[in-house]
Amino acid sequence: MSLTEKINSVCRSALEKGLVGGVVTLRRTAENAAVHALVTKPDQIEETDPLMPYFPGNGADFVKKLTRIAPPRNKKILVILRPCEMRAAVELTKLAQIQNENIVWMTFDCLGTVPRKEFEDKPIPGGDEFYADLNREDIRPLCATCDFVRTNTADIGFLAFEDGAPFVAYTETGKQFLSELGVEFSEKVADDKFNQIQQKRNQNKAELYERLEKEVKGIDNLVKTFARCVNCHNCMTNCPICFCRECFFESEAMDFEGDIFLDLAERRGGLRAPTDVGLFHLGRMSHMATSCVACGACEEACPEGIIVGQVFKWVSENVQKVFDYVAGRDWEEEVPLRTFREDELTEVTGMS
């Protein structure tokens, strides 16, 4: 059975048997486009393919939408997410934006996705065509440098990289779900191919960071990096972690009297429009770097081709290290800005 069909047949029979009332996964809207969608009928599964190399946004955002006011009470939902989306879902749950009830989480070994703009005039390949070459390099920079091509925080994992592409159950819920469907699953998590691919990604990441040290670090470089930014805030709107109802950087706190703007222009050598580009990016980092999952939804959404996702990944990894934290790695670790310890960070006070 093909890889996509293997997952899809689980979806179909879960819907047929009424084990879940809906499935969240990628569904085509056209040959060259897809979105996350909630499907409820087995025959709709024909149009879905969780493995296709397309990233319309971070799917955790959609789960937030589906559960924020109230999680489904009458029926369960099967949610199929990439590892970076799954990690965002873990973060959003910890941040009380997703209500994790009656959800069966499934994730899969992720080979990455191709930049959306590549599909302006060609069809998106199906998962099987894409996974036929595990060494491919035509993926987004954030995918090529991914820290988690697999994650174990879901109920069910689909080990697409490994021989035979087995399902594994990480939780009791996952075990029960697969058993009730009569789907075979492995108790052992094979990791041969996974290790190879992850290693390659880690190497790529080291190279990326070396490049960013040279090309982004320092005020001159930073100015260049964001030179074309039109301050549209698409990066923030598409970020799963930026969930504020009203973003501070879109509030009235950004507005001043003309005299103050004149004064600012006087001091800064002029005033850029739209204003507050630097404040927006640095400020956004200060709000959410502790939970950035390096999914690159921001970068995909940037109309100016700014490497905003790569910069956020780099900065955020260092921020998370301060707290020994890795966003979305597990369900228990506390989100850094929601807690504190009395006896920590003593080096932060004082002149250093």
Partner: protein, 141 residues
Amino acid sequence: MADGFEPKIVGFFCNWCTSTAADMAGTSRMKYPPNVRPIRVMCSGSVDPSYIIRALLSGADAVMVGGCHPGDCHYISGNYKARRRIAVLKSIFDTLGLEPERIYLEWISASEAKKFVETIKKFTERVRQMGPNKLAQRWEF
């Protein structure tokens, strides 16, 4: 550094401690450099990092946040939260090569007028050595 460079330092001082220490230093006529522009806040925990960033982008050469000593915050944990936020901000500035030393957090209680004066002297001198803040001079950012 350039002759006659006088750093401008924005101070976010907690109402219950550092602000009071500053007032006391003033009323007891202790001398300290006039470089600090104090802003009274209700707690160090109310200082969003974006206020600090805005100050640094708008012409401040440095920002100092003054809060109550650990255990003494009137809102119990505001200062611990401030410490985490400032740790985040300093890490960001460090990665991006933006001089995290221009961001300074200190605990100064209401009775520590002397510590306040000493701290301001030392920090002003420190920032004078560092020279003007380049981040504030780039209109493009």
